[in-house]
């Protein structure tokens, strides 16, 4: 029996070895990265200690890891660049202490307490989910430490206090413009709506969509819901498509968005699908392929801008080089967040947390991948959202595609 067990253990280990072999294609290390937009407004700091630590709370395990892992990768990339280029001065190293919150309010609180009170970090990025932010951010506020959400889109996040920032555009900043442009371009009258009813992000998106549709006097034929983690939408889609909508309006995160797009096409729907920030992921293109044609997305970050900001381009190149996959909006915002912290520390020229807060709030027109970036007086982001459409396998600005179409019509 002993021997039998041994054989079994070996059989178990074999697939693991196999996986290790499969995964052996390592990328090359090379530091030949183009410089991102240094913020020249501030002098190279003189008064910083040799090592500075910021914290980051992301969902690195459980289902939220789908977003959290990309966030960690983006922050690691940004910090490596900051250090490589001596952004904080010669010999000054910026370190990031990552903590996992597992998408869970309790763990987010524990992680925030650890970072802010025990480890005494200068500032904290995250947490990934808005729910976690409502639970954990007050700890940072009470301890006078800046916390910056890089994926919190819920209403009221920054109302928690003057140390609470975010660089993620809330849905109400993104969606109304998209809806208007889409209506203008496509002449919509009747739409079907679908949203995830158990998640802050998708509910917010839904509310904003409904308001925008109402404001434009568009008829909502029917509203269907789903839950996070659902993968079969056949029934909801069957029922929506049967009503012959001019467009499907969907508030979903990327994982659900992909399935909704694919399955809508399977049911023979070939009209436009309008989505929010959650659709703004290369995964949508990768995984739904030609089915994604005609998907319209309001987004904080333009993935496929043919004329991108230099820093956006640099970020994408660096990310692909480092990790072999294209970054999504979550990564872009996390990356920008880390750069914003580094810039605030550089400008504050101090490791005092209140100074860092003030320097962060004062940042204006920072050339980030998200565009020229500033905070408003509520510590919410100010940069232009963009309406994009998937056209011939790429995200393009909706406006340019419509113009192009108009010109070719003439």
């Amino acid at each position: 029996m002993k021997k039998f067990r041994l054989i079994l253990s070996v059989l178990f280990i074999l697939p693991l070895i196999f996986v290790s072999v499969v995964s052996a294609d390592e990328h090359d290390e090379d530091a030949d990265t183009p410089p991102i937009g240094f913020w020249e407004e501030c002098e190279t700091p003189q008064n910083l200690p040799d090592e500075l630590t910021i914290g980051a709370i992301f969902g690195l395990s459980e289902a939220v890891a789908v977003y959290g892992i990309a966030q960690r990768q983006a922050v690691e990339l940004a910090v490596a660049e900051v250090n490589a280029w001596g952004y904080l001065g010669e010999g000054v190293t910026l370190r990031v202490q990552f903590e996992d919150s597992a998408g869970n309010a309790q763990q987010a609180i524990a992680a925030m307490e650890k970072l802010v009170v025990e480890d005494g970090v200068l500032a904290v990025l995250g947490p990934t989910l808005s729910t976690e932010a409502f639970a954990a951010d007050p700890i940072a506020q009470e301890n006078g430490t800046v916390v910056m959400g890089v994926s919190n889109t819920a209403i009221g996040i920054t109302d928690m206090g003057d140390f609470v920032f975010r660089n993620s555009l809330p849905e109400e900043a993104v969606i109304p413009g998209t809806v208007e442009q889409a209506i203008d371009a496509l002449g919509l009258e009747r739409v079907g709506v679908m949203y995830g009813d158990d998640d802050d992000f998708t509910i917010s998106g839904f509310d904003v969509f409904v308001d925008a549709l109402d404001d434009n006097e568009i008829e909502i034929l029917s509203v269907e819901t789903f839950a996070r983690g659902d993968r079969d939408f056949s029934s909801q889609l069957t029922s929506l498509i049967a009503r012959n909508p001019d467009a499907l309006v969907v508030s979903a995160l990327a994982a659900e968005a992909v399935q909704i797009i694919i399955q809508a096409r399977e049911f023979g729907y070939d009209g436009p699908i309008i989505g929010g920030n959650g659709f703004n992921s290369p995964a949508v293109l990768d995984q739904s392929g030609e089915d994604a044609e005609g998907v319209i997305v309001g987004a904080a970050w333009n993935i496929g801008d043919p004329d991108p900001e230099p820093s956006s381009e640099a970020f994408q190149q660096a990310f692909v080089e480092e990790y072999g996959v294209a970054p999504d909006q979550f990564a872009a915002q996390a990356y920008t967040g880390a750069w914003l912290f580094a810039t605030a520390i550089r400008c504050a020229d101090s490791d005092d947390r209140a100074d860092i807060r003030d320097a962060l709030a004062a940042i204006e027109d920072f050339p980030s991948p998200l565009g020229l970036y500033s905070f408003d007086e509520n510590r919410d982001p100010v940069h232009d959202p963009i309406a994009q459409i998937v056209f011939e396998g790429a995200f393009l600005p909706l406006a340019s595609v419509i113009e192009g179409a108009a010109e070719s019509d003439e």
Binding site: F12, P15, S61, V66, E224, R231, Q236, F267, Q287
Partner: protein, 302 residues
């Protein structure tokens, strides 16, 4: 509206097939051992994952991925029996303890998968190659019906597996031994049946079924991540209890009923109340018929 109704029936069949396939393995372990293996959903995920590695990384055809996934999850399942179930059974521990150890095993399996995902893909999700199955839906114009080849494969696979399993359990000597062990372990061992061997075979079979279900599920949804098992775990549990624990036909029936209620409720009371309706019905059925629709009354189970 008839077209919609027909289409929804087709949707029920395709969704129900997935649930049924998942529930079969779950149910098999329960019927033979009388314990719930909450790590079954992790095996399901591993099946999808191995299928992904074989078809995507090794660029092998789908059938190779299917077989590889079934073998690996079968072995993982056997390992689970050896590590998480057998020692407890030997000590005569409560069944609840076995349930918790299976949760521990599930956490372990999911986290190992996550580490491997990051190592292989640099993220925790990846998609099956798009060319594995033709994607053009089969359209029956007169009836307004559409079904994709992937879903058709799942329905056929579920049918074949159900028939094979039924044959295995009722007609083969292994199946007879399994039923004997399920009825009474002591008596079975007195009859000269190697009970431990039957347990291992049961776990292998259940694991392989879980793995198969995982690959087929991934064929429909394309995308795999370490957490795909978590959403189906509760549905699977509901299906086997509804259909009748320890009954193979019950697991299948339960899977279809759950899918049916979900889809009907989306069309009637709205999608928000979908799962509430499933559980209310479950509630009602348990109160009227505690052993489930096709289950044996409690007294006949040892």
């Amino acid at each position: 509206m008839d077209g919609i109704l027909l289409q929804q029936i087709v949707n029920v069949i395709s969704l129900g097939s997935i649930y049924a396939l998942f529930a079969l393995g779950y149910s098999l372990v329960f019927s033979v051992l009388g314990v719930l293996n909450l790590a079954h959903s992790a095996l399901f995920m591993w099946g999808a994952f191995i299928g992904l590695l074989v078809t995507d990384r090794l660029e092998m055809p789908l059938w190779v991925g299917l077989i590889a996934a079934m073998i690996v999850t079968g072995l993982l399942s056997v390992l689970l029996e050896l590590i998480a179930f057998r020692p407890l059974r030997k000590r005569g521990a409560a069944r609840i303890a076995q349930l918790i150890s299976s949760i521990g095993a599930a956490i372990l399996l999911v986290n190992i998968a996550q580490l491997l995902f990051i190592r292989v893909y640099n993220r925790v999700e990846a998609a099956y190659p798009r060319g594995l199955v033709p994607r053009q839906p089969i359209i029956i114009e007169e009836l307004g019906l559409r079904i994709t080849p992937a879903r058709l494969i799942v329905v056929i696979a579920a049918l074949v597996v159900m028939i094979l399993l039924q044959y295995l359990v009722t007609r083969t000597s292994l199946g007879q031994q399994m039923r004997a062990v399920a009825f009474n372990q002591r008596t079975a061992s007195l009859l000269g049946i190697n009970v431990n061997y039957i347990f291992l075979m049961t776990f292998f079979l259940a694991g392989a079924l879980g793995g198969l279900a995982g690959v087929l599920y991934a064929l429909i949804t394309n995308v795999v991540d370490p957490f795909i098992g978590q959403n189906i775990a509760l549905i699977g549990l509901t299906a086997i209890v509804l259909g009748g624990m320890g009954s193979i036909n019950g697991a299948v029936l339960g899977g279809f009923i759950v899918a049916g209620i979900q889809i009907i409720s989306i069309d009637t009371v709205g999608s928000s109340y979908r799962d509430a309706l499933v559980f209310l019905l479950l509630f009602a059925i348990l109160l009227i018929r505690p052993q489930g629709i096709l289950g044996q009354p409690e007294s006949t189970r040892a």
